[in-house]
């Protein structure tokens, strides 16, 4: 799978990140947080691996606290 996932500490951050990345034209989707990665907030944001850097920079610029992971 050529996908990554962003994990957040709060749902509000996940929803905020979704909006920011959609505005930037990226294809992202909110999914239930994969349990193997975290027991944190219920939602995570899936993205296409080639967008890794754009996602990382876009969310850092908006100061969204998060972690990027490979999605198995």
């Amino acid at each position: 799978m050529n996908q990554g996932v962003v994990l957040f500490h709060t749902t509000t951050s996940a929803l905020r990140a979704e909006k920011i990345l959609q505005k930037a034209g990226l294809s992202v989707k909110l999914i239930p947080t994969p349990r193997e990665l975290s027991s944190d907030c219920g939602m995570a944001l899936r993205f296409e691996l080639p967008d890794w850097e754009t996602v990382e920079k876009g969310l850092a610029a908006a100061r969204v606290e998060c972690e990027l992971h490979w999605l198995g």
Binding site: F8, H9, T10, T11, T12, S13, A14, L15, R16, K19, L30, I31, P32, T33, S39, D40, C41, G42, M43, A44, R63, E65
Partner: protein, 382 residues
């Protein structure tokens, strides 16, 4: 029938508010932020969109600093109980509501010193009086943006500057002004603001918020309520992340959906247009009441210094009788008495009898005001 009790809660609500609430229950019924399925996400998006719109409305860059509460009272309690430590001093004004005075009096029992800066007879607060009170230093200044009795607007920006110079934080009670007057955090330079959703923002009851400035350090503010947040669930201690630190328990999603629609209605109409309409109504109302023999009208002479909340009394007649007759004989609905603000009534010289309060709203017309003046004239005469 004429509804003049908008300072208690606005009515009627825009149809879009009802529609948004119905839509939330019918279409987005999940628990926002607790699960990852699509109904939960749909509910979460509505809550988030409202949060973001409110943050923008108040001039806040980070939407996570817009904390949802049940009402302004809840927000004021989070701030007052969460910020103050025994031995610290609070300075507030003489026009406060009990939503501020009761928590402050409770904090007094816990070793906090409370100083009340007296207001003038028209509800005006003078920055120089605050400057004098702040000479003794303070942890917090609490100020009511506009009186819920006579509409007098406080000079928040000037008071905030003085408070900051004295090293104090500034908490503003915007229960009467959010949706009526422009409130921009960077312009006013305040630290915390409490607002309600069900008054001039035209949302339903059970909605409100505590807004934290972009520079405020949340470590200074202890949560009032702790519990489930849907985040960091592996820990049994409250998370520090915003907004979850202050938002335990399932939020009022349906109410927040309605509040979002109410705010959209306000923004579409525009604060300037809303204010201009209310000023035209209050100008006519104030002038008309002042012409009726035996009536005393409270609040500043300069209408620009007040919101459209007007109070009057009549010598020799109980306010309860006036209110009852306006309702019973003329179907005019207002609120009489102390309006949960004994401190402010003391400042105005209307304690303990209180006043008759008339609070028009965006759907009130000048024709309504003429009808009301005619009714008050007749009630005053006999």
């Amino acid at each position: 029938m004429i509804y003049l009790d908008n300072a208690a809660t606005s009515w009627p609500k825009p149809g879009s508010v009802t529609a948004a609430m119905t839509d939330f229950l019918e279409r987005a019924g999940g628990n926002p932020g607790r699960s990852g399925h699509r109904l939960s996400i749909a509910a979460g998006r509505i809550v988030y969109d409202t949060r973001e719109a409110l943050a923008e409305f108040f001039g806040i860059g980070d939407p996570l600093r817009m904390i949802f509460t049940l009402n302004a009272t809840h927000a004021l309690n989070i701030a007052i109980q969460g910020l103050l430590q025994p031995g610290q001093r609070v300075v507030t004004g003489g026009m406060e509501h009990n939503a501020v005075m009761r928590p402050l009096r409770e904090m007094e029992k816990r070793g906090i010193k409370v100083e009340v800066v007296p207001a003038e007879k028209d509800g005006t607060l003078s920055p120089s009086a605050f400057a004098a009170a702040l000479e003794g230093g303070a942890r917090l200044v609490v100020v009511n943006h506009a009186s819920n009795i006579c509409g007098t607007i406080a000079p928040v920006k000037e008071i905030a500057a003085l408070a900051h110079a004295a090293g104090a934080l500034v908490l503003v009670d915007a229960a009467q002004t959010a949706g009526v007057l422009p409130i921009d955090f960077p312009t006013l330079d305040i630290d915390l603001l409490a607002f309600t959703g069900h008054k001039a923002l035209h949302g339903p009851p059970g909605t409100g918020g505590l807004v934290l400035s972009d520079s405020f350090d949340p470590a200074l503010l202890n949560p009032l309520v702790r519990g489930g947040t849907g985040s960091r669930s592996e820990y049994e201690v409250q998370p520090d992340d915003l907004p979850d630190r202050y938002e335990s328990g399932t939020p009022n999603g349906v109410g927040i959906a309605g509040l979002g629609a109410g705010l959209a209605w306000v923004r579409e109409r525009g604060l300037e247009a809303i204010r201009a309409h209310e000023l035209a109504l209050s100008a006519r109302l104030r002038r008309g009441l002042a012409e009726i023999p035996g009536l005393t009208v409270y609040g500043p002479q300069n209408l620009e210094l007040a919101t459209a909340v007007i109070s009057f009394t009549q010598a020799g007649k109980r306010v309860s009788e006036i209110g009852y007759r306006l309702d019973d004989e003329y179907e005019i609905f207002c609120r009489v008495g102390l309006h949960c603000a004994p401190a402010a009534h003391r400042s105005l010289g209307t304690f303990p009898e209180g006043t008759v309060r008339l609070a028009p709203g965006p759907t009130t017309t000048l024709g309504d005001i003429e009808t009301v003046l005619g009714a008050v004239r007749k009630v005053a005469r006999a």
